[in-house]
């Protein structure tokens, strides 16, 4: 009898506990492992925004938000387990914050009819909404980032990159390899030489890559790094006295955690971003009042206003706005994943909307459509000020080179459609 009771209890525990709520959002976060330093601020921002909506507005459109958090440790197998255990709870949208897990979820979520929002990561060609019906990657993707980085370098170099040498230091994974195709095209177009330097997971050992940079002296270095790899790379760049203003990281290589360990040496390091930095927005007063003041801040509550916290907040804001749009379209409070998908596909972010939310000028304005699940890819460059310990936005939001990117997106999406037997279309 005792054995039966125990085994029944074990079986009940192994089966995922379903959660009852009106609007369920999931956070596949990672607060442990080699990528935790970056995973924590994002997860905090994501969670705090939904807490704020619950506390201040009573949820979205009168429906309270239930946020289910699941720890993935940036590990694909755990990501799959998290997806399977949470999808039964009526989860409206998945944001796995990992390109590897996104690749896993693209076919699974499409089959289950649940949307995935890979904001600034994942498969770039998901921009083509006719092929990737359930996958969204607005407001910007890696190829946009690569293009904007090169555009910025063109500006810095007086409009020409002929004969220049640009190195790409990248995480040797699907994530890091993503921009290579675009950079190769851009190298052809602008006549620069591309030098590829892969760094293996987790990226603590980069001596040989930076030795090569020291020897070959590329004019600029781009970085697609994540987790501990960023800190090590920036420290190594400081060690070989590489001019920091020639070193540009993707948005995932541009958080405070990445530059602070290198101290003053990191001054002048540049990174891309698709949203604004700092906590100088009216919304943050509400966060202080309703979330921090009420003792409901996620995690340790010490990340507010950091680059990745803002990104998590931005991701949550876009999800909430999409949910509002969906409620408007279907004229209902409780949503299904399919309705949420419609909301995401008809999402429009304008200056007025952001100002009304207390985030004026926080990100670019963009409009999602069935043909374009990726927004306009507007991206800005920020630069680290080691003295003031803050990121300063040094450019406006720059549009990427659509002439180069669109054919690439079309080609890759068409290849995926052929491979998985999808007929592109909006119905």
């Amino acid at each position: 009898m005792k054995l039966k009771l125990i085994s029944a209890a074990v079986a009940a525990m192994i089966a995922a506990a379903p959660a009852m709520a009106e609007l369920t959002f999931t956070a596949l976060s990672y607060r442990t492992g080699p990528y935790a330093a970056n995973g924590i601020p994002f997860a905090d921002g994501y969670q705090d925004y939904f807490t704020l909506l619950n506390e201040r507005d009573g949820g979205i459109g009168g429906e309270r938000v239930n946020l289910v958090e699941c720890e993935t440790g940036y590990n694909t197998e755990k990501g799959v387990e998290c997806y399977e255990s949470t999808k039964g709870t009526g989860a409206l949208v998945y944001q796995p914050l990992s390109t590897g897990i996104t690749y896993q979820l693209i076919p699974k979520a499409t089959a289950d009819g649940i949307p995935v929002h890979s904001m600034g990561y994942g498969r770039t060609s998901a921009k083509n909404g006719e092929v990737f019906r359930n996958i969204f990657n607005y407001p910007a993707n890696y190829w946009d980032g690569a293009s904007v980085a090169i555009k910025h370098l063109l500006d810095v170099n007086g409009g020409a990159l002929d004969g220049k040498k640009i190195a790409l230091v990248y995480h040797n994974s699907a994530y890091g390899k993503e921009p290579i195709r675009t950079l190769e095209e851009l190298a052809k177009k602008h006549g620069f030489e591309l030098m590829l330097l892969p760094v293996d997971h987790p990226g603590q050992e980069q001596k040989s890559q930076w030795l090569q940079i020291r020897r070959e002296r590329p004019d600029h270095v781009l970085m697609w790094g994540w987790g501990v790899m960023n800190q090590v790379a920036i420290q190594e760049a400081v060690n070989i006295r590489y001019p920091m203003e020639n070193f540009i990281g993707i948005w995932w290589s541009g958080s405070e955690n990445d530059v602070l360990p290198a101290g003053d040496g990191a001054n002048g390091y540049k990174a891309l971003t698709f949203h604004n930095t700092g906590s100088n927005f009216p919304l943050f007063e509400d966060i202080q009042k309703y979330v921090v003041g009420a003792g409901k801040a996620a995690g340790a509550g010490d990340q507010i206003g950091t680059a990745l916290y803002n990104r998590g907040l931005y991701a949550a804001m876009l999800a909430a706005e999409a949910a509002k749009t969906a409620q408007g379209i279907h004229n209902t409070g409780p949503l299904t994943p399919a309705q949420m998908r419609d909301g995401m596909e008809n999402l429009e972010i304008t200056e007025e909307k952001m100002a009304a939310l207390g985030l004026p000028g926080f990100g670019p304005s963009f409009k999602v459509s069935c043909q374009n699940h990726g927004g306009d890819g507007l991206t800005a460059v920020v630069q680290w000020d080691a003295g003031a310990k803050q990121w300063n936005k040094i450019t406006d939001f720059i549009a990427p080179d659509a002439d180069v990117l669109n054919p690439l997106v079309e080609a890759d999406a068409a290849a995926y459609a052929a491979e998985s037997g999808i007929t592109p279309g909006c119905n």
Binding site: M13, I14, A16, Q104, K108, N172
Partner: protein, 358 residues
């Protein structure tokens, strides 16, 4: 009481040396098979198959494979992750190159290719032993992962370097790709696990297994009594890699569907499978299952108990999970250095006498 031998007479050598000589044990085995093949497919859902059964079955195959090499033949290997990667990439290349051939044969062929690669990396075992061999197989691990990352041919020149499994069917039922049913993937893996375990069990108690064990126990003595170390060691590497290759192929094609070699088949995977073998019990087929179950189910169970049941923060639960699993491993190994299989054996001995021990 449960394991009664009284009245259970054996009249032939065959009957006496069967895998489950005790009647109760034999019936329990048939019941397990019946439940696994006939009942579970009826009730299984996506969560149970993807979070519990599929990893358990696939890791069991890998653990059986490694157990043949480490537990039966005594050759320490840290290359399991690399060999699983060979299986995964082999099945991917086969699936994309010959889409008309049934996936079933692709998986077996992938095992064969892995067996060949395993033999190549097993060659050093003829000259080096113990820790030195472990280091040599570690080289295989790193080399293979590097190779699959470096040579675009292996991932069909895809931009991201990922491989993803296209849809394939068995008897018209999809077993790979996105639109699979839980019962189909479960049964597909179960068939492979069952057949692999059956083959492994019968190999290890036959002449071949005795040769391996002779090499394990003392290679010089084995050579003197006429065991050819070249054949014995290389056959162990081949058979072991065959199973590991099958598990890698299933891991990629059926379980994950998309794989990135450095992340999925890294050194961690090698250690994980080795731990399964050590915790489960070296030189035991049942131990391979027990070890796989322990290391697959326990983290899931702890996560659901701590986060779902008690509502603790996910990061705290994740850290605690490491500590609890680690502590349990130590406890188990102190209490029973020969693994869960030995615990099970001792329990059976006790149950034979229960309720009247001497």
């Amino acid at each position: 009481m449960f394991y009664r031998e009284a009245g259970d007479f054996k009249t032939s050598y065959k009957a006496d040396s069967q895998t489950f000589p005790i009647k109760f044990d034999r019936y329990r085995y048939y019941v397990v098979l019946f439940v696994a093949f006939a009942l579970i497919p009826l009730v299984i859902n996506d969560y149970w198959v993807n979070a519990i059964f599929m990893p358990f079955l696939i890791y069991s195959i890998a653990a059986i494979g490694l157990n043949i090499l480490v537990g039966y033949c005594g050759q320490v290997s840290l290359g399991t992750g690399g060999f699983m990667a060979v299986g995964a990439y082999a099945v991917y290349k086969l699936m994309t190159a010959f889409p008309e051939v049934n996936i079933f044969f692709h998986v077996i062929l992938a095992g064969g290719i892995t067996a060949f690669v395993g033999v190549l990396f097993g060659l050093p075992s003829l000259r080096i032993k113990g820790f030195y061999l472990a280091v040599a197989t570690l080289a295989a691990q790193f080399f293979l992962v590097w190779l699959f990352n470096r040579v675009p041919w292996f991932y069909n020149y895809s931009a991201s370097g990922q491989i993803s499994a296209p849809e394939r069917t068995v008897f018209g039922v999809e077993v790979t790709g996105a639109n699979t049913d839980a019962w189909a993937t479960y049964l597909f893996c179960l068939v492979f696990t069952f057949v692999c375990a059956l083959i492994a069990r019968n190999l290890t108690r036959g002449a071949q297994g005795r040769k391996w064990m002779a090499i394990r126990d003392m290679d010089i003595a084995a050579e003197i009594i006429g065991v050819d170390p070249l054949k014995a060691k290389l056959s162990a590497f081949a058979v072991s890699s065959f199973f590991v290759g099958i598990s890698g192929a299933l891991f990629f094609a059926v379980y994950l569907g998309a794989v990135e070699v450095g992340e999925v088949f890294g050194i961690n995977k090698s250690f994980l499978v080795l731990f399964m073998v050590i915790i489960g019990g070296l030189g035991s087929i049942f131990g391979s299952f027990a070890g796989a179950a322990f290391l697959v189910l326990l983290p899931v169970f702890l996560k659901n108990a701590l986060v779902g049941g008690l509502g603790w923060p996910t990061d705290l639960a994740a850290h605690l999970e490491f500590m609890i699993v680690g502590a349990l491993i130590i406890v188990f190994l102190i209490a029973e250095p020969h693994g869960l299989a030995q615990l099970w054996r001792v329990a059976k001995e006790k149950l034979r006498l229960w309720p009247f021990p001497h």
